[in-house]
């Protein structure tokens, strides 16, 4: 499906509004949109909503053999998918430029910042290590995928628990959650991306741009930072020259935002942990806002299945019993048999003549087929039979190979 283009007047309107320090959703230039984190029923699964941008993250693990040059380190694998659900114009399975750059940014933010202790993922050095896989799906695209994906990624990683293992000699035992409590990943710090959009050659700056704003921006700057105000990644793209002061100002803003977001994430994680510990309700079903008119819940309903047996019996009794008469199979040769239950197929007749003529020249059998055809065409249903004859030759050609 095609993406809808942005019209010139929309573009001009947006740019003029930004010059007047106004944004379409009523935010100030440095305001971040609301973040909402909800967790799934299983571990390592979360949905992050950043305004109307919505991202799903899922972490999974698997025992694999390590890379030969790093025998004592676990493997991390990140995959960001732009689901065609997120926006028109996104196609499944296509490696667009945007997708590649987003994936790379996510890797730099979460792997290259060394926020996950990969050595703790080693089970048997050089033989078996854990591979941690993070799948991030964009569900709704309303700008700033980078930030939403980095938040969802780190939250899912913090929420995830891997099965406990023990090593005795060469035997590796993986315990189910019932046998031993699963263990969390050891995470040193939480890097979070903060995005900035620049307009009019860098004169105007907006934090957390929406999709519309992203379409008219000149330049884009992403700063990944943790709550200790250490910069993990910085990346600028687009056609804008930034003065050092701009970058310093951005990093100061990022520091404030990251502190806020980290606090919020940790609160969400604690709440979920508490709900799980106390046996309360958790999962996506609990995060639906049921006070809204768009949401609806039905209590567990009973379905009467008393008369099911009678109904089934009735239907079976009414139906005709299976027919007992059926055609006998005909053995054509050793290993070849046929049931001609359908109408005597034209090539079925030929099969007989073909057997007789098997020893003869193939050209002759073709001639015979032609003759047969002439006789048959006097019949009423011409076209279909003709079609069948074409195939009978094919069958003759094939037959010697069988």
């Amino acid at each position: 499906m095609k993406a809808t283009p942005l019209s010139n007047c929309e573009r001009r309107f947006l740019l003029r509004a930004i010059q007047e320090k106004k944004r379409l959703d009523g935010r100030q230039c440095y305001d971040y949109r609301n973040i909402r984190v909800s967790f799934g029923a299983e571990r390592g699964c979360c949905i992050v909503e950043l305004g109307r941008t919505r991202v799903l993250a899922q972490v999974s693990c698997e025992l694999v053999s390590p890379k030969p040059n790093r025998p004592t380190e676990g493997v991390l694998f990140f995959n960001l998918e732009l689901s065609p659900m997120a926006a028109p114009g996104l196609e499944p399975g296509r490696q667009s430029e945007l997708l590649v750059s987003l994936n790379r940014l996510l890797e730099r933010c979460l792997r290259d910042s060394k926020c996950i202790d990969t050595e703790s993922l080693c089970v048997v050095a050089g033989e078996k290590v854990w591979q941690i896989r993070l799948d991030v799906h964009l569900l709704n695209h309303d700008g700033n995928i980078t930030d939403a994906a980095s938040i969802a990624g780190i939250v899912a990683l913090c929420h995830f628990r891997r099965p406990d293992v023990s090593v005795q000699g060469e035997e590796v035992t993986v315990y189910t959650p019932e046998e031993r409590d699963p263990v969390p990943l050891s995470i040193h710090h939480m890097p979070i991306c903060v995005s900035f959009a620049f307009f009019h050659q860098g004169t105007y700056l907006l934090v957390d741009p929406t999709e519309r704003e992203e379409r008219v921006m000149d330049g884009f700057l992403v700063i990944a930072m943790n709550k200790h105000h250490e910069i993990c990644t910085i990346q600028s793209s687009g056609v804008v020259m930034l003065v050092p002061d701009q970058i310093l100002r951005c990093s100061k803003i990022a520091a404030v935002k990251v502190t806020e977001i980290t606090e919020q994430i940790q609160k969400a994680l604690e709440n979920d942990q508490k709900a799980r510990k106390e046996g309360g309700k958790f999962g996506f079903a609990e995060s639906i806002p049921f006070q809204r008119i768009t949401a609806f819940k039905m209590e567990s309903a009973a379905v009467d299945t008393n008369d099911v047996e009678e109904q089934a019996k009735e239907i079976i009794a009414k139906a005709d019993p299976p027919a007992e008469v059926f055609s006998k199979p005909v053995l054509l040769a050793a290993g070849t048999a046929q049931i001609g239950e359908g109408v005597e197929n034209s090539w079925g007749d030929l099969e007989e003549s073909e057997k007789e003529e098997a020893a003869e020249e193939e050209g002759e059998s073709e001639a015979a087929a032609f003759e047969c055809q002439k006789v048959e065409t006097e019949d009423t249903m011409r076209e279909t039979k003709n079609g069948k004859y074409c195939f009978s030759w094919y069958h003759i050609l094939l037959y010697p190979f069988l």
Partner: protein, 270 residues
């Protein structure tokens, strides 16, 4: 024909089809067993013009860690571009993938081959059966022909005796002593096309499939149990109509079973 649907309706009103069959009639079914000499088991099935060939290749592999006493069966349905105009060469399309999944489901549901039978040494060695089903000519009712070809090919499989030498721990293959595969159930598929939401016709041709508003495939085994009721969308049907389909499928099963028994008997050395 200018108005294919109207053309068909006229015929169906008279309870017959343009190719002269009645509504409940199958096309002529021909089976040839052992068509490919290089495969461990093979069969060619013709259902009217629809031609499907199935080859089974057996290989040795180590079983998966979580199911140490099980072998593998890997079915694959191929619809190459030669079998009909609408298929393109390249990676398998949706129809081929859906058919592969259906065949895998039939094998799993019917338990025609128990995967434990394919295990040679627990946790060490097991058979992998690659069942490649290739359609040579597509004229409708691919699923029936494929299931039949698979069954016939599996009946034809002769596996060499494999023993594990206890001293060396290596496997030894005795090619002189071959045993047939144990087939526990004989699933047979019967497909129907639904015309104008009401009429059921058996064994549809490609043209009939295109014009029909839906299809149903029912797989039964020799005890009359249902191995699969596969109705991928299309026209809604009542339970009674489904029952009619099942009745027809049971009759068809008896016929096909006789056919396959006869073929197998004809090639077994006395």
């Amino acid at each position: 024909t200018v108005e294919p649907l109207e053309y068909y309706r006229r015929f169906l009103k008279e309870n017959c089809r343009p190719d002269g069959r009645e509504l409940g009639e199958f096309r002529t079914t021909t089976v040839n067993i052992g068509s490919i000499t290089t495969a461990d088991g093979s069969a060619l099935v013709k259902l009217g013009n629809t031609t499907v060939i199935c080859g089974v290749k057996a290989e040795l592999a180590a079983p998966a860690a979580d199911s140490a006493n099980k072998g593998y069966i890997v079915p694959n349905v191929e619809l190459p571009s030669l079998c009909a105009e609408r298929f393109r060469s390249g990676p398998p399309g949706e129809e081929a993938q859906a058919a592969s999944q259906f065949i895998a489901d039939v094998i799993e549901n019917s338990q025609m081959i128990v995967k434990e039978d394919l295990c040679i040494a627990n946790g060490k060695l097991a058979w992998v059966l690659y069942c490649d089903i290739i359609c040579l000519d597509y004229d409708g009712n691919l699923l029936d022909a494929s299931v039949f070809a698979l069954l016939a090919a599996l009946k034809n499989v002769q596996l060499p005796l494999v023993t594990i030498n206890e001293e060396t721990g290596l496997s030894e293959v005795n090619l002189k002593q071959k045993n047939p595969l144990l087939i526990r159930k004989h699933p047979v598929a019967t497909s129907f096309a639904v015309f104008d939401d009401t009429l059921l016709i058996v064994d549809p041709t490609a043209e009939e499939e295109d014009l029909a508003t839906g299809t149903v495939t029912i797989v039964t085994d020799e005890e009359g149990r249902l191995c699969s009721v596969h109705k991928p969308g299309g026209s809604p049907l009542t339970g009674a109509k489904l029952q009619d389909c099942i009745t027809r499928a049971i009759t068809r099963h008896k016929e096909v079973k006789k056919l396959i028994d006869k073929v197998i008997k004809s090639i077994t050395p006395k």
